[in-house]
C-alpha cells in the first residue's frame, strides 16, 4: 500500500511538473504581443513603401502600443501600399491630421507604425484615413543615396 502511494504521488508530481513546464514554455518564451483591446476602430493609411512591415505589427504613439496592423494590401490603381490597422476605442482623441510613419525598432529590429499627433480639432474615427504618411527607410536606398551623393560631390 505504501509502495503504490509513493508511486502515485511521484507520478502525479511528475505530470504536474510537466504541465507546469509546458505552460511556462508556451506563455513565457513566446511573445504575447501585448496589445489586446476589446473595442477597436479601423483606420487606413496609404504608404509609398512599407518596407518589411508585417500584419500584427504594433501601432504606437509616443512609444506606447495603441493598436495593431491588420491588413497590408497593394492598390493596383494608385500603386501604393494600403495599410489597415485597428486602434483601441479608448483613444478617440487622435487628431485626424496626425501623420503615420513606418519605423524600425532598433537598427535591425522589426518594423512598426508610429503615429505623430497633429493639431486638428477633428479626430480619427472608424473608417477614416491617415493622410500624411512617411515611407519606411530602406537601408539599401539610404546607402545608395549616400554613395551617390559622395560620388557626385567628388565630381563637382
Amino acid at each position: 500500500m505504501q509502495q503504490t502511494r509513493t508511486v502515485e504521488l511521484g507520478t502525479g508530481l511528475f505530470v504536474l511538473l510537466g504541465i507546469g513546464s509546458l505552460f511556462f514554455l508556451t506563455t513565457q518564451t513566446t511573445g504575447q504581443h501585448d496589445f489586446a483591446a476589446d473595442e477597436t476602430f479601423e483606420v487606413q493609411a496609404r504608404f509609398e513603401n512599407v518596407g518589411s512591415l508585417k500584419t500584427r505589427a504594433p501601432v504606437s504613439m509616443s512609444g506606447v502600443t495603441i493598436g495593431r496592423v491588420t491588413e497590408i494590401e497593394f492598390d493596383g490603381e494608385t500603386l501604393e501600399a494600403v495599410v489597415t490597422f485597428v486602434i483601441d476605442r479608448r483613444y478617440d482623441k487622435i487628431p485626424d491630421d496626425s501623420d503615420a510613419t513606418v519605423l524600425t525598432a532598433g537598427l535591425l529590429g522589426s518594423q512598426y507604425i508610429g503615429l505623430q499627433a497633429g493639431g486638428s480639432e477633428t479626430y480619427l474615427e472608424d473608417g477614416s484615413e491617415v493622410l500624411f504618411t512617411q515611407s519606411a527607410v530602406v537601408l539599401e536606398n539610404l546607402i545608395g543615396k549616400y554613395l551617390f551623393d559622395r560620388d557626385s560631390g567628388d565630381g563637382g
Binding site: 508511486v7 502515485e8 511521484g10 507520478t11 508530481l13 511528475f14 505530470v15 511538473l17 510537466g18 504541465i19 507546469g20 513546464s21 509546458l22 511556462f24 514554455l25 508556451t26 513565457q28 518564451t29 513566446t30 511573445g31 504575447q32 522589426s110
Partner: protein
C-alpha cells in the same frame, strides 16, 4: 566476390524483414492501446513513474548544464559583436527547437530505454513471458503495452521539463553570472520566438517518445533469452534509438521548414 554480394543481399533482406516486423509490432501496440488505457490504467501509471518520474533527476541536472553552456557559448561569441542582448534568443531557439527534444530523447534512451529493454529481456530469459502465456495472459498486453505507453507519455513531459530547466540555466549563466540585462534576455526571446517554434519542439518530443519507447520494448521483447542476449539488446536499444532520433529530427525539421 559473389559471396560478398550474397552477404550484402542477405543483410539487406534481414534488415527489411526486421524493419517490417517492427512496424507490425508497432501497429499491434497501437491496437492494444485504447483497451490498456482503460482497463490497465494502473499499470500505465506505474510505468510513467518508472520511465518518467525516475528520470527526472538526470533530466533536470543535464538541462541545467546544457542551458548554462549554451548561455556561455552564446555570450562569448555574441559579445564580439556587442550583441549580448540576443543571448536569450540563441538559447531559447536552440533549446526549444533542437537540443531540448534531442538530448531528452537520448537521455531517455540511456536511462529509461535500457531499463525497459533489459527488464523485458530478462522476463523473457527467465521464462516469465512464457509463463504468462501458459496462464492465458497475453504478455504483449500485460507487459509490453503499459511500458510502451509509459514511455510515450513520459517523453513529452521530460522534454518540457528539460527545456524549461535549460532556459533557467541559460538565465542563470547569462544574467546572473555574465551580467546580460534580464529584461533584454527575456524580452528579446519573447519577441522572436513564435508559438509555432514551441509546437515544433512538442511535435518532436512526441515522435521521439514513440520511437524511443518502441525501440526499447521491441529490443527487449525480441532479445535472445540469455544473459548475453539481454546485454546486447540493451546496447542495441541505445544505438538504434540514437540513430532513429537524429534521423527523425532531421526529417521533422526539414518538413516544418
Amino acid at each position: 566476390m559473389i559471396a560478398l554480394l550474397r552477404d550484402v543481399f542477405t543483410t539487406l533482406v534481414l534488415f527489411l524483414r526486421t524493419f517490417g516486423a517492427m512496424n507490425i509490432f508497432f501497429l499491434q501496440l497501437l491496437l492494444y492501446t485504447p483497451a490498456t488505457m482503460v482497463r490497465r490504467f494502473r499499470l500505465v501509471v506505474a510505468q510513467v513513474h518508472n520511465a518518467g518520474a525516475l528520470s527526472i533527476v538526470i533530466i533536470i541536472v543535464s538541462g541545467l548544464f546544457v542551458g548554462g553552456v549554451l548561455g556561455l557559448q552564446a555570450y562569448s561569441n555574441l559579445e564580439r559583436f556587442n550583441a549580448e542582448d540576443t543571448v536569450g534568443i540563441f538559447v531559447a531557439f536552440a533549446l526549444v527547437k533542437e537540443i531540448g527534444p534531442v538530448i531528452s530523447a537520448l537521455l531517455f534512451a540511456g536511462r529509461a530505454g535500457t531499463a525497459l529493454a533489459s527488464e523485458i529481456g530478462l522476463m523473457k530469459a527467465t521464462d516469465q513471458l512464457a509463463a504468462m502465456e501458459m496462464m492465458a495472459v497475453n504478455p504483449v498486453r500485460r507487459v509490453v503495452v503499459p511500458r510502451f505507453l509509459g514511455g510515450v507519455i513520459s517523453m513529452p513531459i521530460l522534454t518540457a521539463i528539460f527545456t524549461t530547466v535549460g532556459l533557467l540555466g541559460g538565465h542563470l549563466v547569462a544574467v546572473e553570472l555574465l551580467g546580460v540585462d534580464v529584461g533584454a534576455f527575456w524580452q528579446q526571446m519573447q519577441q522572436t520566438l513564435e508559438l509555432s517554434d514551441v509546437n515544433e519542439g512538442i511535435i518532436k518530443s512526441l515522435v521521439f517518445g514513440l520511437v524511443a519507447s518502441l525501440v526499447a520494448v521491441w529490443e527487449g521483447y525480441n532479445a535472445i533469452p540469455t544473459a548475453e542476449g539481454v546485454g546486447r539488446a540493451t546496447t542495441r536499444t541505445v544505438v538504434v534509438t540514437a540513430i532513429a532520433v537524429l534521423f527523425f529530427d532531421f526529417m521533422i525539421t526539414a518538413a516544418v521548414l
